[in-house]
């Protein structure tokens, strides 16, 4: 498989603290590569080094065959970038922002009009084309920014927390387009996220913590490494229940504000017996497949982001509310 990004020994330190501690990885052409980790794990620093915004302290990376330190401009021409914070000119219209971007990235004159219409359609901003960006809502600005990043049909699109602050509908719409773009133009997408849902869509996920890569694989592989199923239970007396579960199932039990969870093999069979045999009155119980959050939990010993546990699995609202 062709590699489009090749990273070797990439390091960045700021005054004594190491933000990224020697990163090695390769990204395949055409894949969606997710960078998952808690805030401050070094995700943005990595994306900034790959996109030539900041200079690595050590090591180097090749993007589309170009060196991120020596061939900055060639790297820049091959990538699209969407930052966490807005980089739009709010005093200009959407159209002007897009046109300038075409000029900065050398999009051919004859292609500009079509491209602008195309990207505006995708993010549903066609009717706002000639409006000043200042008048846009937060979500609209984000959408415009994403549209702008696609204008030069980049070989690699870097997205730093792309869907933060978007409503679920726009988020879904955006992902549809990103997937379409990947199919159609063979674009490689490199994104950072702390959202489990977004990481699940990725072809491969790198999990990062404290500036180090702690796992890299497909979401399915990562989850199967955790294995089994997760049972979450809430009882009248959680402490006693914890001891009982540990004794009876020899499982490691983690506690949260609402109850206990533990991992078992063959959960659906076991659940029936568990409920029947459990001596302490149960308030609620549910069974789910492991999520990437469980992977992170197992590898790093804590959750990625307390309030952002996958909402895909039903009956998990307990978990989601925890920690707020």
């Amino acid at each position: 498989m062709d590699t489009i990004i090749e990273v070797k020994g990439l390091k960045k330190y700021y005054k004594g603290t190491e933000a990224v501690k020697g990163l090695d990885l390769s990204v395949h052409k055409g894949e969606i590569f997710g960078f998952l980790g808690p805030n401050g794990a070094g995700k943005s620093t990595t994306i900034n080094m790959l996109s030539t915004i900041i200079k690595p302290s050590e090591g180097h990376a090749k993007i589309n065959g170009f060196d991120n330190v020596k061939e900055k401009n060639k790297v820049r021409a091959s990538i699209g970038l969407i930052f966490q914070a807005s980089t739009l000119d709010e005093k200009l219209t959407a159209n002007e922002n897009l046109k300038l971007h075409c000029k900065f990235y050398g999009v051919k004159k004859s292609l500009r009009e079509d491209r602008i219409q195309e990207v505006l359609e995708i993010v549903d901003l066609t009717d706002k084309r000639y409006k000043i960006v200042e008048t846009f809502s937060g979500g609209m600005k984000r959408r415009l920014e994403i549209a702008r990043g696609l204008l030069n049909y980049p070989k690699v699109l870097f997205l730093d927390e792309p869907t933060v602050g978007l409503d679920p509908q726009t988020r879904a719409h955006l992902w549809d387009y990103i997937l379409k773009l990947k199919e159609k133009a063979g674009i490689t997408i490199f994104l950072t996220t702390h959202s489990m849902e977004e990481a699940e869509i990725c072809d491969r996920v790198a999990i990062m913590d404290h500036g180090e890569l702690i796992a890299l694989d497909t979401p399915d592989q990562l989850k199967s490494k955790v294995g089994g199923d997760i049972i979450h239970v809430s009882t009248e007396a959680n402490q006693a229940a914890k001891a009982l579960i540990e004794e009876r199932y020899e499982a490691e039990v983690t506690e949260d504000g609402e109850g206990l969870s533990f991992r078992v093999e063959n959960g659906s069979k076991l659940l029936i017996d568990f409920v029947k045999q459990f001596d302490i009155p149960i308030k609620s119980v549910n069974l789910r497949r492991p999520t990437l959050n469980d992977v992170f939990l197992q590898l790093a010993g804590r959750e990625i982001r307390e309030e952002n546990v996958s909402t895909k699995t039903s009956g998990n609202r307990n978990l989601a509310r925890r920690g707020r």
């Binding site: 996109s51 030539t52 915004i53 900041i54 200079k55 401009n73 060639k74 820049r76 021409a77 970038l81 930052f83 914070a85 807005s86 980089t87 739009l88 000119d89 709010e90 005093k91 200009l92 002007e96 300038l100 971007h101 000029k103 900065f104 990235y105 050398g106």
Partner: protein, 276 residues
């Protein structure tokens, strides 16, 4: 090339869109020219010409004297402050969009300097609306001469502005530094009063001040000192010398252009080291 043009275009579009800024740009020149200039003119002419109407200095008109200086003031301040947008772009994030694009840092810096210069020329030309009120006669030919001179001066000042902007992170800091710099430069340029009979140390400062030569160019174009009585020319401080030699218009162009080249190179070098 298109990158330079895009950067330039953005600054020009934004200038025309900002109506309050355009209106506000008349405020300072109006105050200096009409309030300060007219207020001073009586005192100035009685000091200069005395009471005698036969004296060659009876023609001295302080408002007319100030007018080229006011055009200069407008061009200088607009040009140097245009680089404020560089600091603001850093603050609001747009600088990232520019810096991560494939256009070279040199193109960005040049585009910024050209954008600031263009806006400064437009503002300088706008000051010509005062012409009917102050009794200066301006011919079309003068305007044609004025435009390249304004552009040259604006280019040098924009470069100085960009050099400052590239080293600073906040717009407050930028405004502070520029104000501290521009006021002494203005006072020592001959824009506000004739540069006659100054202490020697001040004379040195005047001669190393690039604005001195810039203001003198505007005066040479607008006031046409060649047609003046020698005594009046002297009183208006129009006999600028350097190393006791009168400096010619061409010499002034050379000095200002030279400084422009030096500062644009320094600014571009400084700007290129900036991280997004």
């Amino acid at each position: 090339m298109e990158g330079i043009l895009a950067i330039w275009q953005r600054d020009v579009i934004k200038f025309f869109r900002d109506r309050p800024r355009i209106l506000g740009s008349f405020a300072m020149p109006f105050m200096f020219l009409i309030l300060f200039g007219s207020g001073m003119s009586g005192a100035m002419s009685s000091m200069m010409g005395g009471a005698s109407p036969d004296s060659p200095l009876a023609d001295f008109d302080f408002v007319q004297f100030m007018f080229p200086g006011i055009i200069g003031l407008t061009v200088f301040t607009t040009a140097i402050f245009s680089s404020l947008s560089v600091v603001q772009d850093k603050e609001f994030g747009y600088m990232k969009e520019i810096l991560v694009s494939p256009i070279s840092r040199v193109s960005i810096a040049i585009g910024k300097v050209l954008g600031g210069s263009t806006v400064a020329v437009i503002q300088g030309l706008m000051m010509l609306v005062f012409v009917p009120f102050i009794g200066v006669s301006i011919s079309f030919l003068m305007i044609l001469k004025l435009i390249p001179v304004m552009f040259l001066v604006a280019f040098t000042l924009s470069s100085i502005g960009l050099l400052i902007a590239s080293t600073l992170k906040t717009s407050q800091g930028f405004q502070m530094v520029v104000q501290v710099l521009i006021f002494p430069m203005l006072f020592l340029s001959g824009a506000m009063f004739p540069l006659n009979g100054m202490p020697a140390w001040m004379n040195v400062l005047v001669k190393i001040n690039p604005l001195t030569y810039s203001v003198d160019m505007f005066k040479k174009v607008i006031l046409e000192p060649a047609n003046m009585a020698p005594a009046l020319r002297e009183a208006m401080g129009l006999n600028l010398t350097i190393f006791h030699q009168p400096i010619t218009f061409a010499g002034e162009i050379f000095v200002v252009a030279g400084l422009g080249v030096v500062f644009v190179v320094l600014a571009t070098m400084k700007f290129s080291t900036m991280e997004a």
